[in-house]
Symmetry: C2
Subunit: 789 residues, 2 copies
């Protein structure tokens, strides 16, 4: 096939070279100039920005690839997006999107003329302008590239169930050193050529990071060949520093890769899936800061780490440096590529694809435009009938697994939903999805495998980074999904959660970005019920991470039972532009609310549970509040104990399902009014709060509410091991007996009655201690406790 | 070399097989039995634990490898430790450590007889016993393996500068899917055969995770071969399910690998380093749950995912299952391997290495025993002379770079210090270390490289996971170091910080574990001064993560200037068993305290800065508090502004360098008394607190202090972009003008004077806004602000 393919001719390559020159010129302009954008006058210090920001080193390579992909798209009418791993090469991508016209369509003030170019330059990395990275403000981008490591997982996520899409993903050799990137090469083991699109990774080796050489930049071709062949790819090399030769080689290589991709797809789509293709990957070795200054002050620049950021500094103060900059910029011959008005000449402008085929305008990169609303079955179908609160048990996540099963079914025409999970779907009691969907693996399947198929859409891989990165890519291109994982190990990818929150926060400010589905993170196997796995598995830290994120984006839900989970999940799956953190344990737990009560409770975010209270609308002696399933169990057990042992004490039980309702309304849109807060928590009565997460976090949430020192929070205080469930709450001082003691100590009206009862609670704790150590299990009366009123 | 090596003879292999049987027997006993440990009676339901916990699937493979490494150690007198990636195979390693006698030495109650065996079984995964994972309580372990991904980075960290040590690192095929593990294969590119020890990775493929097949388990040998050859290894395969054949093959392969390791080292040590060796790696493919039940209830178990945890459940209730268990246990012939008293027969006990050569007793795995105190030069050598507070600038981290340079020099005989950093040592202004040390890269070096050498001990790799994992391995084996990284991207590895905190917390409770050096994390390039890099680089989240960790372990320091950093760093480098988080920006900042004042300030943790206050020991109208360099700048600028514009107002300036001093003393050992708290913050005056981290976190820290609602915290509120430094504090409402406004609004005594001054502050903010958007830089009078009293 390679032999017969017509090559891109020299004339066209020369025009492409000029187009690339234009992009490089605009890149340098963004880094350096605030005036005189077309260099119509000799460069003077006052034309230079006061502060030089931006990364030149990677930029020419990024532009080079973009220019060539434009050609490939034009020749083949390809639906393609471009993911910029080296996202700090922002000015290069902005330059390209500007040249193809998308930028001006999105930001009309940045016109395609001298004045627009001046604006383009001045806005870059300036207050009120655009950030220095390829980011949410860059048309065509679904990937920031500030925190390195995720370009390939985002790329594969975008390609899943986008059969016609090709995702070009540029991997810098710096990023290639990161663990998340190395872990993401295996995406092709989950990519089905029949139903999914393709990812074309372009590993761009320019040899250096900020100041040191890179591992792959320094590796022999043969080693890289083996490494990537070992991952399952076919490797193509393009290497050089002489532009015209590299142009020819890269164009030819792209043609070969493209035809291979289409051949694999055509074969699989016509003849059915037979085996995983050896998808192509391109290794492009070019100098860092290519076409930039060779030398400054006697030190080599081009091809070295010194080209990483701003290769010529002090241009305002140093006339020799100013001259180097001017010569450098003029080397691209701006007068030949832009007309007198500052517009790219037509002969070059023709090189960009048209309309939505422009990578900056491709709707996949503004996924909300392609988003089809998810069909979600009514939660009533999975409702658990609660005959009496706190008397029946079930695994709280199992009904939600059934709901997801039906979501898969209902949306099986559009295939716009996937569940991502590190090999725990069954363990998390979500296994009903396997009634209709398989696990995905595009490798050899053997008879003893359980629900594994290349056609599966349950994405299980033992990598939180991959699960989350794939889901983010899937969402950013307009689809829906859930990441379900162990609570403690959600921390493995919490930095991705932070970065995605930032993306959504900025994206929701841009009217041209259509809303995308929320990132839904379901944490099961929580700290309280990893009694069997031990201390490493006990950590509710993601709550703290999400708590600090912006109210416009961050949501945290702690449904106490399965009906509440159904209601919350329904809400989250309909929502857009949020990070929804849902925390609920998978084990059999007491159930509290019928479906309609659960919906009402979740809509309010919190409510008083009258059946567990005995304050009868009076001012209570104490409020027992809880958030989370295990804390709720301990709280209602405590309320039960207090009712029986000290009926004179008026106890109000409040359950919080939406943690953000506790924030003051000026801090979070879910924050309830002070009046509502007082309605639940009174103005001055002691509140004993049993919290799922780290003990003291509640105090940061409720600051600003009336009389906060009266809140006494019990929660996870980083005590744990392999033990029994009840011992976990004892170790962390959150057991029902601890709550009772705290309540009795804090309630002044009944003080005289409490000393013997406090003693009774302490006795129970002692009894527990000796029992579990003798019997190696929970005391039956504790393990089987239910409400008995 | 392979051809001439004498093979391990059959008789010995048979004995080794019995030893392995013993370990497997003890593994199953730990999972199942609470009585009848030697099966002297037929198994009855009451012998079975009430709750079956533990992971059988990986255990026989782990024991198999351990048994063989024992043989290799005995034959060659090797200094070797064993890192168990599949840490959930805890009972297998506990069994081995028990068999070799270490366990009884460390835990004398677990004797080598029937009663001790009963204790061993009962304690496993039981309340008050030992956790189910290989963990800090397991002698010989420096690696938990609960959160998968870090076994290879810990292994390489342990091998650095341990020339005689060989680290056997077992990688499960589940863990092999994680990103941190995939990223860690490249450790050999940083391992120098002259001065470092060796890592022998053993990739143990048993095909399945919890319920799905694994990527490498399903890959063809040829692909794995290429992948690992591509990483630079020489690959050796051992595969099979027939034990005696696999014994022979594995023993032979270990001999070959060992001789290769020693040959590479001998060559490099005799002839000098020439090139990176192709270090051996072993791929061991054996069935999951090897030697376990073939089938239960008609479903295949051995070799399938069903063997992952407890392969036969309900043994108390189901007599057929009980019989399967008994047959299974008896298949190991306990009566032939243990004598009547329950002791391993002498013929088998002989197979274990002796003394410190036992992997459970190797001092590298209890690194504190090998720890040599670090020589730290006096901080006075690097002190900055502050002529007048807040009038001189310097890059706050640069003197600390000089201190580290001298630490490298002073400890150059023991080589027990390394700096780990993702390619930012220079960028973080720590580059003075390059006066005496190079960056490490055990690859081709070329002339334009800057301070790069295979002999370098500055570890730069663009992977937070590798930097931190290597450092943890280095510390756990008794050395010292620092991980310096960008603040935002410290979140990439924050889950490792959590897990290491847990390790230290549990370890410090064990008298037999000698203290190890603290994990020191230095965050430079902070959120406030990533104005040039933009929003993705702006995130102080690690503070929240560390705040929630136990007071016995967690420390957070926010030195306001370079002398304070020196004092804090000196303290942290001397300390043991802590996670010390130090946050300070690298840019040129105002300096406040002379060295002696800095030491005093840091010892106290916080103090009143009298030179910036005007309350003259009276009760102030308002307290201006700060923690962090940029917040301190804004706070003292605010104090300055208030003094000049409203001298009637009495302002006290408090600076907090040790964040944990704010915690109540019952919550953190650094927590100051309420009396000290009141001395600084009064009982009831408004406190305007400028905080480096997320705005509301202070409230969780100060809960329990007098009258906390009077604290008004300004901090990072997740607002950012590429802009100017001052604009960052404006965007987040923490600028000096915001602080002044808040102070004036909160100070009732001067209310009548404040309205025009509040207006003046608002005018300044407006002026800032228009200035930076016009000039693209900070207003000079703000950027150059110094104290002028």
């Amino acid at each position: 096939m390679e032999a017969t393919m017509p090559k891109v001719n020299q004339e066209r390559l020369l025009r492409m070279h000029k187009y690339w020159n234009a992009a490089n010129y605009l890149t340098i302009g963004q880094i350096y100039l605030k005036e005189n954008p077309l260099l119509k006058q000799p460069l003077r210090p006052e034309h230079i920005k006061p502060r030089l920001l931006g990364h030149w080193g990677t930029s020419p390579g990024l532009s080079f690839i973009y220019t060539h992909l434009n050609r490939l798209i034009q020749d083949n009418n390809i639906d393609m997006i471009y993911l910029t791993g080296p996202g700090h090469g922002g000015p290069a991508i902005i330059a390209q999107v500007y040249l193809e016209g998308t930028y001006t369509e999105v930001y009309p003030q940045v016109t395609q003329d001298v004045e627009g170019m001046r604006h383009l330059f001045r806005q870059f990395s300036s207050p009120g302008g655009v950030p220095s990275h390829v980011s949410v403000t860059t048309p065509g981008s679904i990937h920031e590239g500030g925190e390195l490591g995720y370009v390939l997982s985002h790329a594969f996520g975008a390609a899943f169930d986008s059969p016609n899409l090709i995702v070009a993903a540029v991997v810098g050799d710096g990023e290639a050193e990161t663990a998340p990137l190395e872990g993401a090469w295996k995406g092709i083991k989950f990519l089905n050529p029949v139903r999914d699109g393709a990812v074309l990774p372009i590993l761009h080796l320019n040899g250096y990071k900020i100041s040191g050489p890179t591992v792959l930049g320094r590796a022999e071709d043969e080693e890289i060949q083996k490494l990537l062949t070992g991952h399952g790819y076919e490797v193509f090399y393009v290497e050089g520093s002489e532009p015209m030769k590299v142009h020819q080689a890269f164009a030819d290589t792209l043609d070969v890769c493209y035809s291979k991709i289409r051949a694999y797809q055509a074969d699989a789509r016509q003849n059915g899936f037979s085996k995983r293709p050896s998808w192509p990957v391109i290794i492009l070795r070019t100098p860092k800061g290519w076409t930039g200054p060779r030398e400054v002050d006697g030190l080599p620049i081009e091809g070295t780490f010194r080209a990483h950021q701003v290769p010529v500094a002090d241009v305002r103060e140093n006339p020799a440096h100013l001259q180097i900059l001017e010569n450098w910029m003029r080397s691209y011959k701006p007068e030949e590529i832009f007309d007198n008005s500052g517009r790219l000449i037509a002969e070059l402008a023709d090189l960009a694809p048209k309309g939505d085929r422009r990578m900056g305008a491709n709707p996949h990169a503004n996924g909300g435009k392609l988003r089809v609303e998810l069909e979600i079955p009514s939660y009533n179908n999975y409702a658990f009938e609660v005959k009496k609160p706190a008397t029946q048990r079930q695994e709280s996540t199992r009904p939600f697994g059934k709901m997801m099963r039906d979501i898969y079914k209902l949306n099986s025409k559009v295939h716009n939903f996937r569940l991502f999970c590190p090999d725990e779907t069954n363990s998390n009691r979500l296994g009903d999805v396997f009634d209709v969907e398989n696990r995905c693996l595009v490798e050899k399947i053997i008879p003893i495998d359980d629900h594994v198929s290349p056609n599966g859409r349950v994405m299980e891989v033992l990598s939180e980074h991959l699960c989350q990165g794939w889901l983010e890519g899937f969402l950013l291109t307009g689809r829906h999904g859930i990441f379900a994982t162990y609570e403690a190990f959600a921390m493995v990818s919490d930095s991705m959660t932070v970065q995605h929150s930032k993306w959504l926060q900025e994206g929701s400010k841009l009217p041209w970005r259509a809303p995308i589905s929320s990132l839904n993170i379901l944490l099961t196997s929580t700290c309280w019920r990893n009694d069997h796995n031990g201390f490493s598995h006990q950590g509710p830290g993601l709550i703290d991470t999400v708590l600090s994120k912006k109210g416009t984006v961050a949501r945290i839900y702690l449904p106490p039972d399965s009906n509440c989970l159904l209601s919350i999940a329904d809400h989250c799956l309909h929502s857009c532009n949020y990070v929804n953190l849902i925390v609920i344990d998978k084990q059999a737990h007491l159930q509290y609310l019928n479906m309609d009560e659960a919906v009402d409770h979740c809509n309010r975010g919190l409510s008083i549970w009258k059946w567990a209270s005995n304050d009868d609308k009076l001012e209570p002696d104490v409020v027992l509040a809880s958030a989370g399933d295990v804390p709720t169990l301990e709280t209602i057990a405590a309320a039960h104990w207090l009712r029986h042992h000290i009926p004179e004490m008026k106890v109000r039980v409040v359950n919080v399902v939406d943690l953000m309702t506790l924030y003051p309304p000026y801090f979070h849109p879910h924050g309830m009014s002070d009046a509502a807060f007082i309605e639940h928590f009174t103005t001055n009565k002691p509140v004993i709060f049993a919290f799922h997460g780290y003990q003291r976090a509640i105090h940061e949430v409720i600051h600003g509410r009336p009389n906060t020192p009266r809140f006494h929070v019990r929660g996870f205080m980083e005590e744990g091991t392999t033990t029994t469930p009840f011992d976990m709450v004892v170790l962390n001082g959150m057991s029902r007996y601890h709550l009772c003691i705290e309540a009795m100590k804090r309630a002044p009206r009944v003080h005289s009655l409490t000393p013997p009862l406090i003693e009774k609670c302490n006795d129970m704790l002692k009894k527990h201690y000796s029992y579990v150590r003798e019997h190696l299990e929970d005391m039956p009366e504790i393990a089987n406790w239910v409400w008995t009123d």
